[in-house]
Amino acid sequence: DQQVKQNSPSLSVQEGRISILNCDYTNSMFDYFLWYKKYPAEGPTFLISISSIKDKNEDGRFTVFLNKSAKHLSLHIVPSQPGDSAVYFCAASGVDFNKFYFGSGTKLNVKP
C-alpha cells in the first residue's frame, strides 16, 4: 500500500522553462514533506522540505507547494537547467520523523 505516489515516471523540459513535479499522499497524519534528488550511482540528496503548517517554501530556483486538502505537493524548478536532470523523489513523514515514505520517483530530463 503505497502512501506516497508519484504518478509521472518521467518528465522532459526545455532548458530555461519551468519543471513541475507532482506528488500525492494518502495519509493525513503526514506532517513533513521532502524532496530528494538522485543522480545515477549516487545516493539521494536532500533538496527542499515543507512543514504541514505552510503551503509554500522557496529556496532559490526551487519552490515546493503543499495543498493539504488535496493531499498533494509539487516541486517547481525555475528556470530549469541541464544539471537538474536527475530522478526526484518525494517523501513524507509523521510528526515523530521516525519513518519516511518515499514515492517511486520522477526522472527529469532538461534538454539544452
Binding site: G43, N98, K99, F100, F102, G105
Partner: protein, 114 residues
C-alpha cells in the same frame, strides 16, 4: 567521516549465498535507516535504528533479512540465502536525532544475485 559511507559499492553473488552490506553513518547521528531500490521502483523502507531503542524491522521482506547496529554506529545488513529478487540498490541513511527531518544517504550498494 563527512558523509554516510557504504561498502561494498557493488556486490555480485550467486543465488543461495549470504551477503553482508556495511553502513558507516555520519558521526553523531543517532538514527540509521536501510532502504532498497529495485529496478524501476521507489525507495522501500527496510529497517530503522534509533539510539538504544529496539529497531523498527517492519519493512524487512522476509526472515532472510536481518540487520544490526553495533555500538550505536556502524550497521550491517545481512541477507541469507540470497534470491534473484534480492537484486537491488541497498541504501543506508542517517539523521542527527529525533527532531531533524533530513536524511543523509550513502551512495548505496548495488547487489546483483545471479
Amino acid at each position: 567521516g563527512a558523509g554516510v559511507s557504504q561498502s561494498p559499492s557493488n556486490k555480485v553473488t550467486e543465488k543461495g549465498k549470504d551477503v553482508e552490506l556495511r553502513c558507516d553513518p555520519i558521526s553523531g547521528h543517532t538514527a540509521l535507516y536501510w532502504y532498497r531500490q529495485s529496478l524501476g521502483q521507489g525507495l522501500e523502507f527496510l529497517i530503522y535504528f534509533q539510539g538504544n531503542s529496539a529497531p523498527d524491522k517492519s519493512g524487512l521482506p522476509s526472515d532472510r533479512f536481518s540487520a544490526e547496529r553495533t555500538g550505536g554506529s556502524v550497521s550491517t545488513l545481512t541477507i541469507q540465502r540470497t534470491q534473484q529478487e534480492d537484486s537491488a540498490v541497498y541504501l543506508c541513511a542517517s539523521r542527527r536525532g529525533t527532531n531533524n527531518e533530513k536524511l543523509f544517504f550513502g551512495s548505496g550498494t548495488q547487489l546483483s544475485v545471479l
